[in-house]
């Protein structure tokens, strides 16, 4: 069973690494590379600047994430507070039940 489990994990690891790469769209970057290379009179400096602009544009996309302010954030903190409260309350309830009643025994 151990050997089988290890073998499966190995296959799992290999699959995680290889399968998405096989399905990934490789043409996009290749085409861009080709596009850059084919342009005549387009120097290294210009290519690098263009790539830099594209990278900045991609970074700007991340600013679309809705995390970081307003009512949704209050909901997130509220959720964490409710969960923490529930766990603490449950633990307290069990602790109270299991605590020996000293006053009753005296």
């Amino acid at each position: 069973m151990n050997a089988l489990t290890l073998g499966l994990f190995l296959i799992l690891t290999l699959s995680v690494v290889t399968v998405p790469t096989v399905f990934a769209d490789e043409d996009e970057w290749d085409d861009k590379e080709g596009e850059y290379e084919q342009r005549e009179g387009f120097g290294n400096m210009e290519r690098e600047q263009e790539r830099e602009r594209e990278r900045e544009y991609e970074d700007d996309d991340d600013e679309g994430l809705a995390l970081g302010g307003g009512i949704p954030d209050v909901i997130l903190y509220g959720t964490i507070a409710v969960i923490a409260g529930s766990v603490t309350y449950t633990g307290y309830k069990i602790y109270k039940t299991k605590q020996p009643k000293l006053s009753a025994s005296r």
């Binding site: 489990t5 499966l8 399968v19 998405p20 995390l67 959720t79 409260g85 449950t90």
Partner: protein, 167 residues
């Protein structure tokens, strides 16, 4: 033999979302991912409503006594299948919901994150309640899993997520 099959099924399930990435048509793949969310929601409703109704009816009937107590004794045989149905369908709903969330992680907002945290807490408490042998852990998770506050929070977050999901 069953213990050997389970990791293989998990492996196949792990690879299941990959074809979604392979699809170049953004609209089709986004629709498929969105549908995964509806699958999660549907599975959650079907898994929980009959289970909650059955448990409430059982408690009510035990309190009432008499004829209804006999009905409860007859219905005891259905408890295990309903519990298994509840576990299996909730697991499907949880993994469908999480896959839906992971594939749309670029659009992550605080409400979705809250929903994922709440689902995970309830899922872990349910798994521990079912599969642990420690008495203390069982008692703790029984109390936590059935907390009205958590259930109410989950329902409220699902409604909010559905309402704000398209934004």
């Amino acid at each position: 033999m069953n213990t050997k099959i389970i990791p293989i099924i998990f492996l196949l399930l792990f690879l299941a979302p990959i074809p979604t990435f392979a699809d170049d048509d953004d609209d089709d793949s986004e629709d498929a991912i969105e549908n995964l969310g509806w699958v999660a929601l549907g599975a959650g409703v079907i898994a929980n409503l009959p289970f909650i109704v059955f448990n409430k009816w059982r408690r009510f009937a035990v309190r009432a006594g008499g004829q209804s107590l006999q009905m409860v004794q007859q219905a005891v045989q259905f408890y295990k299948p309903i519990l298994n149905f509840h576990i299996i369908l909730n697991s499907i709903g949880y993994f469908a919901g999480m896959t839906h969330g992971l594939l749309l992680v670029n659009n992550l907002d605080s409400i979705s994150l809250s929903l994922a945290i709440t689902m995970t807490v309830l899922m872990i408490s349910g798994i521990l309640l079912r599969y642990t042998s420690s008495r203390n852990t069982k008692v703790f998770n029984r109390l936590l899993h059935g907390q009205f506050g958590l259930v109410f929070l989950l329902v409220a977050l699902i409604i909010l997520h559905v309402l704000t999901g398209d934004d």
